[in-house]
């Protein structure tokens, strides 16, 4: 048959698969999957267990080793007919915890440890890469069969070219349908349906070839059985160890293979499908292997000596001139290879991106988690991972040169993925399994597997030197890869299986027994192991040992008194106990819980009643439920956050204002007592001395002196009252300004003179730059001078330098004049600067020097009235105040 026709058929077939996947994806997007979600599709998709290795290789296997190939199907059969024990739990856990891959399952079970996720991913990738290479090889071999069968073919394709095109095509298909969207459950309806179609094609192809062989070439069933008996007996021997070991191995693999986990657990739509698949999938396997032995026997009889038995499925029909049948067989093998590669790369890409690429990306770009384009990043990571997985497979195929070494790789890969088994089974059945145990077991298993099975598969001298094979690593005989601890007599496969699984399980158990799990780990462990408990439907209440009064008290707290009492009365009437409290019967507790959950959420309601009814310990399920409710609340509050941040700002401003008010109010209180003190002090002197004077009979000098004191104190009292009055007038804006042209220099002169009355004992050095002061201002000269006096007096009072200095600096710009008063004291503490201009503000009592704390407040009011300002000038060495005043004050509302 023409080679081009074969290529065309291939392309048409692939186009057909694209179309199927495309249509299904579109239907899924519209939520109209219908019969596509049936158990039939689920069962058929499970058939990716049968890869090209089984499609072509089973016949070869049977031709070489007799019935042993059956063990590869017996393992899965036992697992599936025993689905109630293991698979059901696995699927339930997968659905309940939204498990996305086998690495995710392990990592999630052991406290969401990404380390474990990475380890499992590495194991899976290492084990799957040769397996993918095997699929590519089978397609290349099949093409090769046709190429040699048709030597007249116009375009004999180079085998490397074929492998490249197959790999690229598969990558394209997988990326297209495997990364269309990000589903929380990582389901890919298009791919699953395409896989189901391929499952039908490969079954039909194998059955067709088998029927042709049995009824076309041989003389029916009886004849075939006779021929089997007549076949070379030596080849039909079975080693009991291998037989048992391989059943175990294939049983482990069907659970642990990434692609099987993907279709069995992740893509599962309905747990009921598993019940159907429990017998339908073994039936599919039986059908797939039904004709293997006849094909092998007839092939061995008919085909020339040295013909590759792996290709009997193709070469038998070709040799008999059945071109169409051979084409069908080719498509069957092609389906087996492609479906395996597609699902495997999707499963591996999910693991690689979820456990390696995304964590790494988030670590490199810590802010990225918040960005909303994370979906795109994940999808891109998936695509890259798919391409990488296929590139690895292709690379392996190229490096291994498509040699016969690949034939053994199927079992080696099985053993590799089986290393996950102890951690997985232990994780879902044993609460005591810990993360450390799982890590130890996995790493031990990985190392032993690599050393005894994977690396030796390349042959002596490839990775492990011939010396290591002969003498063991480091020259230690008991470390020989094929004879650990002196067990060379074992079959190499069984040797590797025995030691890797034994040491793996041992490390896992010991590690788990000796370490203590963290809280998340324990929580997850309990949730996984007890996945069936209480999760199905609402838990019913048993009649509890609870006082109805306590229930009523709790209900009243949540529902309010009236509603709670009404609820209890209704229940009591229903129980025939009108006028009393109802008994805590299960129905009543259930109705109470549902009523409460309307107010406080299901998990909380359940936990509250639990505590009262006597199941005092809140169960793990409760905690999980509370957690998921909290998650919902968090999501909701995230939406409120935008509004909240605005509120926060407003609240912040309010708080600041409030603080200021509180402080002012405190100052006001302080001021009132201060003013009281200030008023009482002169009055005390006045009263005391006037009483003394009233008594008479004093020397006249004393009378004069006491009279002067009374006079001074009276003046002090007046000044204080004046200040208060002044401030009140200024604050109310009722001040009368007397505007006129005045010399700044003159005003400063006046102020300096006047301020000398304050602490006249102090020698004060005043530094001025007279030329700069030659400015005439249009302002209220008396008021401005009052401000200057105040500032200079303050400096005289408070400047604590040993040789006090006051620098007065004048500057003029843009119609405004600034006058700075800078002393060389220690200045005003930072926190006090905010309040010094506030009315009633006064620094500590230590600085008290007769003032009532009104000076600066008055200054500020005056400057506001003069259209200027007075402010504290920080960073000048001492206390520094800047007075800013307009050159020409225009009174608008004169």
């Amino acid at each position: 048959m023409p080679f081009n026709l074969l290529v065309l058929a291939c392309l048409l077939y692939v186009a057909f698969l694209f179309a199927v996947a495309f249509v299904v994806e579109n239907r899924a997007a519209r939520g109209r999957l219908g019969w596509l979600r049936s158990p039939v599709v689920y069962t058929l998709s499970l058939s990716i267990y049968c890869t090209a290795w089984t499609f072509y290789g089973a016949v070869g296997y049977a031709a070489r080793s007799g019935l042993e190939f059956l063990t590869i199907y017996f393992g899965p059969t036992l697992v599936f007919i025993g689905w109630w024990v293991l698979l059901r739990k696995l699927v339930r856990i997968g659905r309940q915890h939204h498990v996305t891959s086998i690495a995710d399952l392990i990592s999630s079970r052991y406290g969401k440890s990404n380390t474990l996720g990475v380890i499992v991913t590495v194991i899976m990738v290492v084990a799957a890469t040769p397996y993918i290479a095997l699929q590519l090889q089978s397609v290349v071999l099949a093409f090769g069969v046709f190429a040699t069968a048709a030597p007249d073919s116009s375009r004999p394709l180079d085998s490397a070219q074929i492998a490249v095109w197959v790999a690229v095509g598969l990558a394209a298909f997988t990326i297209l349908f495997g990364t269309r969207n990000l589903d929380a459950r990582e389901q890919h309806h298009g791919i699953v349906t395409a896989i189901a179609v391929e499952a039908v094609v490969k079954l039909v192809a194998l059955l067709a070839v088998g029927s042709f062989v049995v009824w076309g070439l041989a003389g029916g069933v009886g004849d075939v059985i006779a021929r089997i008996d007549a076949a070379d007996l030596a080849a039909w021997q079975v080693q009991p160890g291998r037989w048992t070991g391989l059943i175990f191995l294939s049983a482990a693999a069907v659970i642990c293979l990434p692609r099987m986990f993907q279709v069995m657990v992740v893509e599962n739509e309905d747990e009921g499908h598993l019940a159907r698949a429990s017998w339908a999938f073994p039936l599919y396997l039986l059908a797939m292997s039904l004709f293997i032995v006849p094909i092998a026997v007839v092939g061995l009889e008919r085909m020339p000596e040295g013909a590759n038995p792996d290709m009997f499925v193709l070469t038998l029909p070709l040799a008999e001139g059945q071109g169409a049948l051979a084409m069908l067989a080719f498509l069957g093998g092609f389906s087996s290879a492609t479906s395996m590669v597609i699902v495997e790369s999707v499963a591996l890409a999910t693991m690689i991106s979820n456990h390696m690429m995304i964590p790494l990306w988030l670590r490199l770009r810590p802010g990225a988690a918040a960005a909303d384009d994370l979906r795109q990043v994940v999808l891109m990571a998936r695509r890259l991972a798919i391409a990488a997985v296929l590139a690895l497979g292709y690379g392996y195929y190229q490096v291994s040169g498509g040699s016969g070494a690949l034939a053994a790789i199927g079992l080696i890969a099985f053993l590799g993925v089986a290393q996950v088994l102890p951690a997985m089974i232990g994780g879902i059945f044993w609460r005591g399994a810990t993360r450390t145990g799982a890590i130890l077991g996995l790493v031990t298993g990985l190392v032993v597997w690599a050393y005894t099975s994977f690396l030796p598969s390349f042959g002596p001298g490839a990775v492990l030197s011939a010396r290591v094979f002969a003498e063991g690593a480091f020259g230690l005989a008991w470390l020989r890869p094929l004879g650990l601890f002196g067990t060379e007599a074992m079959d190499p496969m069984i040797h590797a299986l025995f030691w890797s699984m034994a040491l793996n399980a041992l490390a896992f158990c010991l590690g788990s027994l000796l370490t203590f799990p963290g809280p998340v780990e324990r929580l997850q462990g309990a949730a996984f192991v007890n996945v069936f408990e209480g999760a199905v439907g609402p838990q019913r209440w048993a009649r509890g040992q609870v006082e109805p009064e306590a229930l009523l008290a709790m209900a009243q707290r949540i529902l309010g008194e009236e509603a709670a009492q009404a609820l209890f009365q209704t229940a009591a009437r229903a129980q025939g106990k009108d006028g009393f409290l109802p008994d805590p019967t299960p129905p009543f507790l259930d109705s109470l819980e549902s009523r409460l959950s309307g107010s406080v959420g299901a998990a909380t309601a359940h936990a509250m009643i639990s505590q009262l009814v006597g199941r005092a310990t809140v169960t793990v399920e409760d905690l999980m439920a509370v957690a998921s409710e909290s998650a919902q609340i968090l999501e909701y509050s995230a939406r409120l956050q935008a509004r909240e941040s605005e509120l926060t700002r407003t609240a912040g401003a309010l708080r600041e204002a409030n603080e200021k008010l509180t402080q002012l109010s405190l100052q006001k209180d302080a001021f009132l007592s201060q003013i009281s003190h200030e008023l009482r002090t002169p009055m005390t002197s006045i009263r005391a001395f006037s009483e003394i004077l009233t008594e008479g009979d004093l020397p006249s000098a004393t009378v004069a002196r006491y009279g002067r004191i009374i006079h001074d104190e009276a003046k002090r009292l007046t000044r204080l009252l004046d200040d208060l009055l002044d401030l009140s007038v200024l604050e109310n804006g009722a001040v009368q300004l007397t505007l006129g042209l005045a010399s700044l220099q003159g005003m400063i002169d006046t102020a300096l003179t006047a301020a000398r009355a304050t602490r006249p004992d102090r020698e004060f050095l005043v530094i001025r730059d007279l030329p700069t002061e030659a400015i005439y201002l249009r302002t209220d000269a008396d008021r401005l001078a009052q401000v200057f006096i105040n500032l200079i007096s303050n400096a005289r009072k408070y400047c604590d330098a040993a040789r006090p200095e006051l620098r007065i600096a004048v500057r003029q710009r843009a119609g405004r004049v600034t006058v700075d008063f800078i002393d060389n004291g220690k200045g005003i503490p930072k926190d006090a600067r905010r309040v010094i201009f506030e009315k009633f503000a006064r620094l500590s009592d230590a600085n008290r020097a007769g003032g009532a704390g009104l000076g600066l407040a008055i200054c500020r009011e005056i400057m506001a009235n003069l259209g200027g300002s007075v402010a504290y000038l920080p960073g000048q060495g001492g206390a520094a105040f800047r007075v800013t005043v307009p050159l020409r004050l225009e009174v608008l509302a004169a």
Binding site: T77, I81, Q237, W243, G272, S278, P282, F532, E533
Partner: protein
């Protein structure tokens, strides 16, 4: 996690369902036994298998599938309630 006041004896239908689950659990054990049985027929290390064995294996296989198919409807959806108690 034994719940208080569990009835000691179950009604007939739940009882049947429980026994069906036991059977489902035992089925893979039975299968394994039957699939390993031919190895015991001859005591030598290497066992020759004949066409009769082929027929035997496929017959066992088919029986196991038939049993699983018979159990499946009764097990499906009946997984509420206690797992470990009888």
């Amino acid at each position: 996690m034994r719940r208080p006041r569990r009835p000691l004896f179950l009604a007939r239908a739940p009882y049947r369902r429980r026994r069906l689950r036991d059977a489902a659990r035992l089925l893979p054990v039975l299968g394994l036994f039957l699939l390993l049985l031919p190895l015991l027929w001859t005591p030598e290390a290497r066992v020759s298998l004949t066409a009769g064995d082929v027929v035997y294996f496929f017959a066992v296989w088919l029986i196991l599938i038939a049993l699983a198919a018979a159990f499946a409807p009764g097990l499906r959806g009946g997984d509420s309630g206690g797992e470990d108690e009888d």
